[in-house]
């Protein structure tokens, strides 16, 4: 197997991300390294469990581990405390009982990684975990960096913990079973990484859009490796979002989160919402002279190339509330990343660079939203 290894150099909690086509079918020995007493519990959603659960458990057993599998119903709506409580009850009820050397293996998309990671973070005050992401979004975003948690009625990801995994194993071949809409979802975060940190990645996505949307294993391998390297670099210097560096990953998310929330998470995917948010942020940056109109147009072209929306009208199913400037502004003020009523924006400064701004005015936001509406 042609594998790429990328270190995540967080002081005292460093780990390695391994990317390789077919890795899911060869994960046993890699996982066994992190289960010193030979016990592992796989946490996955029912849909991914049906596809890959048996394979991963078999791999663990082939490597000499005792492996249990706990699943929960698929879907973001199950990323909640009820699922957490159910999984925790089943985990702690396993016989023989788990101990502190038991390894948690999260398998699936962002929801499985987030919920499973939160269980790992809080069972016996913290168990080691390895993430096996199976969606592009999870590969390039959720699986690396240690954010775990669940949603609350008041908002997404309001409950959780920072808990770095011991390793992340990514199999680009798993993307072949993914609906194209899910690939598009992940590509939004790739465009985000490109705009804030690596202009050449923007070229790569633009040049290979068709192959990426077809889940070409080699192209996806390269894409994932480049994006994981960017994410790893950011979290290595700012694990807990305290220095501002990690906050750059929020590019497109200020307005994006508001759109998702206003839509009730219907009629718009996370990636689509982030794409709209990135377009709006580029418009604000252009208005401030931080970004040339040509650069903003290039971002728009890449988004279009990977089937992401640039305007509200590109999403016919988007509820009216999610286009309502007053609704969106109110939601932005109450985002958990807002501080004392100040909305924070990540704006590009040229392509491949960005910074956080807390002085974006209501008028600037309104103009940017008008562009999305126009």
């Amino acid at each position: 197997m042609n594998a790429t290894r990328i270190p995540v150099d967080i002081p005292g909690r460093g780990y390695e991300v391994t990317i390789g086509g077919g890795l899911l079918g060869q994960a046993g020995p890699l996982l066994a390294r992190f289960a010193p007493t030979g016990r592992a519990v796989v946490i996955t959603d029912a849909a991914v469990g049906a596809l890959y659960g048996g394979k991963v458990v078999a791999e663990l057993e082939r490597a000499g581990l005792r492996a249990d599998l706990l699943d929960f119903p698929a879907g973001e709506k199950h990323k909640n405390l009820a699922t957490y409580v159910s999984l925790m009850g089943r985990l702690l009820g396993l016989a023989p009982a788990i101990d502190r050397s038991t390894l948690i293996v999260t398998l699936g998309g962002g929801v499985a990684g987030d919920v499973g990671g939160f269980v790992a973070a809080t069972a016996l005050r913290g168990l080691g975990s390895v993430n096996l992401p199976t969606t592009l979004l999870a590969d390039v975003d959720a699986a690396v960096g240690g954010k775990t948690g669940v949603d609350a009625p008041a908002g997404k990801n309001l409950i959780g913990a920072f808990h770095q995994p011991r390793a992340v194993l990514i199999d680009p071949a798993a993307l072949a079973t993914l609906p194209v809409a899910q690939l598009v979802n992940g590509l939004a975060e790739c465009v985000k990484h490109a705009v804030i940190a690596d202009e050449s990645l923007l070229e790569f996505i633009e040049a290979n859009a068709a192959g990426l949307l077809a889940a070409d294993v080699e192209l996806c391998h390269q894409l994932i490796a480049r994006n994981v390297a960017i994410k790893a670099g950011v979290v290595a210097v700012d694990e807990r979002e305290s220095s501002g560096r990690r906050e750059l990953l929020n590019f497109g998310h200020t307005i994006g989160h508001a759109v998702e929330t206003a839509a009730g998470y219907a009629g718009v995917s996370h990636g689509q919402a982030v794409a709209l948010g990135m377009s709006a942020a580029c418009a604000i940056a252009t208005g401030r002279g931080l970004l040339t109109p040509a650069a903003a147009a290039r971002v728009a072209a890449v988004l279009a190339a990977v089937k992401l929306p640039a305007r509200f009208d590109d999403l016919p199913g988007l509820p009216a509330a999610a286009r309502d400037a007053a609704v969106l502004r109110e939601l932005m003020l109450h985002d958990k990343k807002a501080r004392a009523g100040v909305v924070r924006f990540v704006l590009p400064r040229g392509l491949g660079s960005a910074a956080v701004f807390d002085d974006v005015t209501g008028a600037e936001i309104a103009r940017a939203l008008e562009k999305l509406a126009g």
Copy 2:
């Protein structure tokens, strides 16, 4: 106010424990330091809330903070995920919404600190917290060191996180409202600290037993300061129980936890169970020549001086299962601190020193339990 300040030097997460008679009525300015945007939420149980909740909220408001109070029913049986879910829902439902600069203030005994600390650890992936313990057990043990969490049906403290507070404020005058049985409960942990780390503390407890049991503020102040210093020293070098140093705090707890669990937490307090566990561990240490019979007798005398049991018969209400050697041994094997079926024991090596042993035999445990039964 005559205050004592003790640093907890955990790298990157250090904080200070302040001890002072009357501190609860002067806590506002100290708390305000940790609430940069002027927002605090007090988490307490209903019993402590009735005694001190209004005072602490008034103190916060006097210091210019907006303060909410969330309470939950008093008692260890409410230290569970249902209480956690309820508190989290109420916290995230507050209007205006909390943000990452909101301070959590835990007020009460170990349960309030553990549950409130776990809420702080996991709301918005981690809020700052300050602990205001109101029992001797919480003062000298739970409030310092960052262990937070709740119990599960399968056992105590199986769910939780390490989350260091920003500060701990201890008011020895609060002990005046505490039933004597609760003081005794805390004194067990003080004897534990003395045996593993400070022989002169054993002398202090023995010489001042009557005054301590009467909750004399000055004596309790000294007692708390000496014990917090020991606990702080241990957690500073081994925050997450990884080097073995923090595991020394488990002295008396291997058998103690088993006794509590076997009893169904009825007929025996935590401190009483730990006292039995310490007597048993001293017997094992004496059998191994690690402790002289005279030193073991001295520990027994101090336990008796502060009304703690040395034998099962000292606890008439103790259920039969909690005296059953086979039941206790089975529970020890499944303690979360056991590793792959090996029971770990902290044994004193002389007075004021201890070490972890994983080679204590079933026969040694059986002999020690016989001594408790005799």
